[in-house]
């Protein structure tokens, strides 16, 4: 299954609901394009909901890092929500778990944006 993305606004935060696979090709490109489009519209508080993402490869990890640094460099914040165990474990072994701001409850995550 490829990746599917939808966005919604909650209290000034854009929640990006992702599902499927973030892998080399379509999935990574879709994530990149989504974040780029949000930034172009001035939406710089981004919460990536990965609750339905069951697979990320190294390219997808790279795209998460790219999204994180791109948003931060434009003065925004990108946080991760609802990691599956597989994605959580991947971020642990790549030492990225502490780089990202990872949340597990949506309302609290939205409130955490400055």
């Amino acid at each position: 299954m490829s990746m599917k993305v939808s966005t919604r606004q909650v209290d000034g935060v854009t929640i990006v609901d992702c599902s499927g696979r973030i892998t080399l090709g379509e999935g990574s490109v879709m994530l990149k394009d989504t974040v780029r489009e949000l930034l172009s519209k001035g939406q710089k508080r981004i919460l990536l909901n990965l609750g339905d993402v069951n697979y990320i490869d190294s390219s997808g990890i790279g795209e998460l890092v790219s999204a994180f640094t791109t948003v931060r460099n434009q003065g925004g914040e990108l946080k991760l929500l609802n990691l599956t165990k597989k994605v959580h474990d991947l971020l642990q072994i790549t030492k990225l778990y502490t780089v990202f701001d990872v949340k597990d409850e949506e309302a609290a995550a939205v409130k955490s944006f400055a």
């Binding site: 190294s58 790279g62 890092v65 790549t94 030492k95």
Partner: protein, 148 residues
């Protein structure tokens, strides 16, 4: 003794990456690995296939990727070979080094080594061969990897 062996010659395309991943998942499942191990094995093979297609053959339609999956009584052995210029191992950074953590690439080999019991990398001027080994009855007491 090889109990089961299947080999493929694949084009240098993204479809090859998906095909290699799926073939590895199927063989690993048949070998009796649990769901988590199947995921790790198929992801390792996916990463090796990405390296072969992108970095080895550079999407060159004239170059092929060889994929061989072998199951013995004790091991699952997956060999992927490209026809590129040969991987320069000295240029592979440590993705866990603080200065590399925020890099957007360079984690493929690391993930492969994390997920497999043994990894042998043989670069040459006519391509790179990477052999991924998973012990059917769990990891041995030996080293995690043997690369050159």
């Amino acid at each position: 003794m090889t109990e089961h062996r299947v080999s493929y010659t694949l084009d240098s395309t993204l479809e090859t990456v998906d095909s290699a991943e799926q073939a590895a998942g199927k063989v690993a499942t048949e070998a009796g690995f649990d769901e988590d191990e199947v995921m790790r094995i198929s992801m390792a093979v996916r990463e090796a296939a990405v390296n072969a297609v992108l970095h080895g053959n550079a999407y060159d339609p004239g170059k092929k990727v060889s994929l061989v999956l072998e199951r013995t009584a004790v091991d699952l052995v997956i060999t992927i070979r490209d026809q590129g210029k040969g991987l320069d191992m000295s240029k592979i950074p440590d993705p866990l080094a603080p200065e590399n953590l925020l890099k957007t690439s360079g984690r493929g080999i690391f993930l492969i080594r994390s997920f497999m019991d043994e990894v042998q990398i043989h670069p040459s001027q006519t391509g790179t061969e990477i052999k991924l080994i998973k012990h059917v009855h769990g990891p041995s007491e030996g080293g995690k990897e043997a690369s050159q």
